[in-house]
Amino acid sequence: MYNYTDFDDSFVRARTAQFAAQVDRRLSGALTEDEFKPFRLMNGVYLQLHAYMLRVAIPYGTINPHQMRTLAQIADTYDKGYGHFTTRQNIQFNWPKLTDIPAILSDLADVGMHAIQTSGNTIRNVTADHFAGAAADEIEDPRPIAELLRQWSTDHPEFQFLPRKFKIAITGSCTDRAVTRAHDIGLRMVRNAAGEPGFEVIVGGGLGRTPFVGATVRKFLPKADLLPYVEAVLSVYNMLGRRDNKYKARIKITLHETGKEELSRLIEARFAELRPLFGGNDQVLLAQITAAFSTPDLRKADTSAFTAFYKADPLFRSWADTNIAAHKNPDYRIVTISLKKHGATPGDATSAQMRLIADLAERFGHNEIRISHEQNVILPHVHLSDLPNLHAALRGSGLETANVGLISDIIACPGMDYCALATARSIPVAQDIATRFDELKLEHDIGPLKIKISGCINACGHHHVGHIGILGLDRAGVENYQITLGGDGSETAVIGERAGPGFAYGEIVPAIERIIAAYLEKRTDPAETFLQAYRRLGLGPFKAALYPDEAKRDAA
């Protein structure tokens, strides 16, 4: 993976020292909160419901064992022994004291990590396919481009005061695991007629208050044009994006107010101006970065241990059936370590779990770790013969749950248990759903199903693109949960349809059970997934199941 150059290192340390001085001035009373807030937001520090929160960037979800151990040490020294991996591949510490944050940032700088641009109206952490560099269906590893974008966007003087935050996602595969169509800019690697790799550029996707699937403004952009093109998009947005209304400030609104044709024209015109200014240094830099992302030396070894264990051990078989994915090398697999033990908080890892993951990445995973936007941890390169030992090492740690892609593999934002913006809780809803379907022993029968829960309209839990989406709201001083159905965050992205009136906190798990019962009853066969069944049947039968009294009234 990419290691900091001397320039990166001195930049991050200078920023850490600068912020430490700002914290000192705040503590002494020299800075008011209004003066300090823009500084802390430039360094990932939020003030949440019960405490400060520090959001640390994990660029494109890639992290090494040494860095993971530092996160564990920070969790033990300055927090409450755990961290929360987020839907943007970051990690959040929920309990740091302001007085400790400079020391935390210094510890992070020691291992090439930071919290810069994890908040504020800037270009945020670039997210990527968590199987990048390993996936069997990949054209190229997209992370060198993501790292190039990180370096270009960090402290970019033109883009420090955008109308609103700006999120970029990138994938090198035809299978979209990075939700590119729901980002301000989504970059999907494709090949042109000559077989050369380039990018489909999608602009103006986003969830939140006004959810939109992004529009393709360029079907094929040569790789060498990527940086000036992205700069052109940002430049046009920076000029046109609304600063008068926070709720209309994202590029998705710019796209809809300006029109795709006109926005594309403006982007292309700006690109024509910018392209000649890029003299090739970006490509020299990209070549250097790309060298840092080479595939590790994969070994050739006997794979019969995998087959033997797969036949003999039902627990291993169940885990292997759900938690491993195809690797570009047929003797290897991509392992997803679930952070969704039934009843646990989605995305949370204790310091002991972080250390175990670091150890296992060293023993079995060529020192590579990824964080997924689905709040799980990935070991991208594990030899088939090592899978039984890896599984055995996970057992008893709370990390061995065989549920990736199933109903209990729920994305949930922190919700009103932590977040100052939340209107309702989301974590306990996720815990209750997972616990209930574990009791019913139904989740493997139900098959692939993505539930996504947000505790407010800002949609950090991506509920609009959940096959079942849950949105927690405050209705007259009581938590209330709206259900959307049929959402999809993949290459066939769709915003889910709202099913009807919301449910009280105590009614939400039974409501989900009714949806699932309707699906199990109506699917053609177990191979028809929930999403396929929904697309075939539409909202009708699920709505009838959700609101049985209403269905009875209509029938009468």
Binding site: E33, H50, Y52, W95, D417, Y418, P428
Partner: protein, 101 residues
Amino acid sequence: MSRAFSPKVVTANDMRSGDVIYLTADDQWSPLHAQAELIENEAHAQLRLLDGQRAKNAVGAYLADARRGTNGPEPVHFREAFRTRGPSNYPHGKQAEQTHV
């Protein structure tokens, strides 16, 4: 006739620790909701809010609805109730620090 004023407390977060705090009648900040000054007059509420906003060690002071309880003011809205305790997924925050609550 104007609508009846619903009682309030002034609440904020501690500047150093981030902990939830409440303005007391004697101008202290307490971590306990029950020790907050229950403000039952609108004009006084605005004055106390200004006091809270001027305080150096408090961040983001605002007025929150509250009601008289047996041991002191109690929160009305569920958000404020969560702020008196901490998160529901772990025994962290005030609920861990104040076993007598």
